[in-house]
């Protein structure tokens, strides 16, 4: 194909493990848990009051701006600030119409609009500030990043629940490959909210204890919040400016399970189709893949279905390579999960360290792959996949490869 190659030249992360890429990555490779009791709203009456909450919100933005931001916006702006600085880009020298923003989002400013609903119902319309509910939509963060850095290029926000920000990486790469942008700020940000916590509780999909992906005793997920931002750049331009290149975005698969609104397709065939689509897009054979960053939610249904999908798509290779779930440490960050997990996947390739699946003690016969239990592992990783499977059967798998 004559399309341009897409590379990663900047990374940023904010999570329950820390306010930066370094803090997050150090925590992940140390096997540290960011899961603790929720403090930002009263969760005492739910099945669990645990979540992977960002304990200290980022600072350093003008107070006049911070006042107008939702929690998700602030996480997203902080991760974008780190990623843009990390990329070494001098935006004032770039054509702003060639710099785009493509993020995944969903929960976004919901916490603000929840406070609006409560005030509206308890104190009446005069007391409820409408700006709080207008701050809810997920494209707010996308627009805020474009506004803050003066970016005029293409913009899009993907809202496919838990695969949102993985899909945003695919859309962003397509913009560059098809010549519609040179640089795209991509990834996603999402935050905790009462409704999502309550909704997963109502579905009885949360574990009262910190989640245990792939473990036989798993009882469900733990919600988290995070932002992960990647700077995607056309490789020719990145090389011309002498940028440090972390990894190459090799391709992605995006498909529909067409099975059920909340349940994964149990045989794994739907997930396998997404994996095969990703391999085809990336030009990879199963033996080229050295690591899989799993969706690994720790629900009863996801983990065996994902295991089966990996075995169907990768064949024997699935049993030879590590497959880990960082949700065991930073929770399920919903619409930003694909982004923060993509950041971790890139770091795995760059550092040669595979983050572990913690709280893994009892193997499940239906989950019989190498889940990197409890301790990080050093190994060379040439190419890696990151899986994201969502409500509604919106499935996306992305592939990154190392650069020489």
């Amino acid at each position: 194909m004559d399309h341009r190659s897409v590379v990663v030249t900047g990374l940023g992360a904010v999570s329950s493990l820390g306010q930066s890429l370094k803090e997050t990555w150090d925590g992940l490779t140390a096997g540290r848990s960011g899961i603790a009791p929720i403090t930002i709203f009263d969760a005492s009456r739910f099945r669990t009051n645990l979540a992977a909450e960002v304990k200290q919100m980022p600072s350093g933005f003008p107070p006049a701006l911070t006042r107008r931001l939702s929690r998700s916006d602030l996480l997203g702006l902080a991760a974008a600030r780190e990623a843009l600085a990390d990329s070494g880009l001098l935006l004032e020298r770039e054509d702003p119409s060639r710099v785009g923003v493509v993020l995944g989002g969903g929960v976004s400013g919901l916490l603000d609009s929840e406070n609006y609903f409560i005030t509206l119902n308890s104190k009446g319309p005069r007391s409820a500030r409408p700006s709080r509910v207008l701050n809810h939509p997920p494209d707010q963060t996308t627009d805020r990043i474009a506004e803050h850095w003066g970016l005029h290029g293409p913009r899009a926000t993907i809202a496919t629940a838990c695969s949102s920000s993985a899909t945003s990486l695919g859309y962003a790469s397509d913009l560059i490959r098809h010549g519609l942008a040179d640089i795209v700020v991509t990834g996603g940000a999402d935050s905790l909210a009462r409704l999502t916590h309550g909704g997963f509780n109502a579905l009885r999909a949360v574990d009262p204890e910190p989640c245990r992906p792939f473990d036989r005793r798993r009882k469900g997920l733990t919600i988290g919040e995070a932002a992960g931002i990647l700077i995607f750049e056309a490789e020719d331009r990145a090389r011309a400016r002498g940028a440090r290149i972390y990894a190459r975005f090799l391709g992605y698969g995006v498909t529909s399970d067409a099975h059920h609104m909340t349940q994964p397709e149990p045989t794994g065939e739907a997930g396998a189709r997404t994996l095969r689509a990703c391999l085809a897009s990336a030009g990879l054979a199963p033996e080229d893949v050295d690591y899989v960053n799993a969706h690994g939610t720790a629900t009863q249904q996801n983990d065996p279905s994902e295991t089966a999908a990996l075995k169907r798509a990768l064949g024997d290779r699935a049993r030879q390579i590590p497959v880990s779930s960082i949700k065991s440490m930073i929770g399920h960050c919903l619409c930003s999960a694909g982004a923060i997990e993509a950041v971790a996947t890139v770091m795995t390739i760059v550092t040669g360290i595979v983050p572990p699946t913690i709280h893994y003690e009892e193997p499940d016969p239906d989950c019989d792959l190498d889940y990197v239990p409890n301790q990080a592992r050093e190994m060379k990783v040439r190419a890696a996949l990151s899986n994201s499977f969502a409500f509604g059967g919106n499935s996306t798998v992305v592939a990154f490869g190392g650069v020489s």
């Binding site: 509910v133 926000t157 496919t160 629940a161 409704l195 009885r204 067409a258 609104m261």
Partner: protein, 367 residues
């Protein structure tokens, strides 16, 4: 990138549950805008208008028994999608993995979300319905439709203010160009919600009898994008060609409606250039005009500039159907459908100038 064909078009609107009824109602000058009853408004505040779908049946496309479990957005887009596939003569069966669905939205899930919030806040956290929760996500309408129609290709929901259906068209074009699918339903869906309506009203953004402003609408619009090869193999006559699209965004605060005729004109000119169409060849324009005075004035000035004072026939259906991303998708569907009914139609421009400086335009051509 390829310039895909459009082989089907459908709309569910406040003026009709199909595209033909909607087209005729619009042509007769009918308006769906009506005052929303003032309950919940602070005393003395004037109620604003909205274009709501007041009478809607999902039958014959979807049984009432099944529809009862779905949110309104899912019902609207499912009905529109079935109608669209029927108008294209396209059967998903046997093509499941080669068919995709890309939906834009601004408000999908609003009804279930506000009801779930009410349950948790005023009954108890334990009262939260597990059946409502899956429909609070924005991708529920697109995904419910994919599940029911057996669509297994790319399935993505997008949000980016009013122009988001154009994002869906663009993404569809990229996915078809990369051979990830042969045909893709692309459109948008929105549901009107009283709590959100009241928030816009309190912010004095919506129009009232005495105060200008836009009016919220609801509904669904979709077209079937198809590759040339698929059209040839199926031996169907396409409605239109999706020939060009461009954006000229401004970095401003997300809710700010910034009037910038220069950037609006740039978006139009770039879309026309992408379609290789001279302004003089444009036979009709679906305007972004929605009742917001400074935005409508800026669009007029942009049109004057691009078309040298001789703008083509202009249609401002947001004055009749309200505004929301779904209405832009309905404009796309109507534009595609117009080639079938109007022999003088050669090229149609669709303008979408939304809040947050999100400006985009698309061009459809007679195939």
């Amino acid at each position: 990138m390829i310039r895909p064909y459009i082989t089907g078009a459908a709309a569910v609107t406040a003026l009709g549950r199909d595209i033909a009824t909607t087209r005729e109602a619009l042509a007769s000058g009918a308006s769906a805008l009506a005052e929303v009853p003032p309950e919940g408004l602070p005393p003395g505040q004037e109620p604003s208008l909205a274009a709501r779908i007041t009478f809607f049946t999902t039958e014959p496309e979807l049984s009432k028994a099944k529809a009862r479990r779905w949110d309104r957005g899912s019902q609207y887009i499912y009905v529109a999608s079935v109608q669209c596939l029927k108008s294209a003569g396209y059967d998903v069966k046997g093509r499941e993995e080669r068919t995709g669905i890309l939906m834009g939205t601004g408000s999908a899930g609003a009804g279930p979300l506000t009801e779930l919030e009410r349950q948790m806040a005023f009954e108890s956290p334990e009262a939260a319905s597990p059946f409502l929760f899956p429909y609070t996500v924005s991708n529920a309408p697109g995904s419910q439709t994919a599940i029911d129609l057996g669509i297994r290709g790319p399935n993505v929901t997008l949000i980016q203010k009013d122009p988001v259906p154009l994002n869906a068209l663009l993404y569809g074009r990229m996915l078809l160009s990369d051979k990830r699918a042969d045909a893709i339903l692309a459109g948008a869906v929105d549901e009107w919600n009283l709590i959100y309506h009241r928030a816009y009203e309190r912010a004095r953004l919506t129009g009232t009898a005495s105060h200008p402003g836009f009016s919220l609408g609801e509904g669904a619009g979709t077209v079937l994008l198809e590759t040339e090869e698929s059209v040839r193999l199926r031996q169907v006559e396409p409605l239109a060609r999706f020939a060009g699209l461009a954006s000229a965004n401004l970095p401003v605060s997300p809710q700010r409606r910034v009037a910038n005729p220069d950037r609006m004109a740039e978006a139009i000119e770039r879309a026309l250039a992408d379609a290789h169409v001279d302004p003089s060849s444009v036979s009709a324009v679906h305007l972004s005009e929605d009742g917001c005075p400074w935005m409508d004035d800026a669009e007029s000035r942009a049109m004057e500039r691009v078309f040298s004072g001789q703008p083509p026939r202009s249609l401002a259906i947001k004055r009749q159907l309200g505004e929301n991303p779904a209405i832009v998708a309905i404009q796309i569907a109507l534009a595609a459908d117009s080639f079938r009914h109007d022999p003088n139609q050669n090229a149609v421009l669709i303008n979408a100038f939304g809040a947050g400086g999100n400006f985009a335009c698309a061009v459809l051509l007679r195939p």
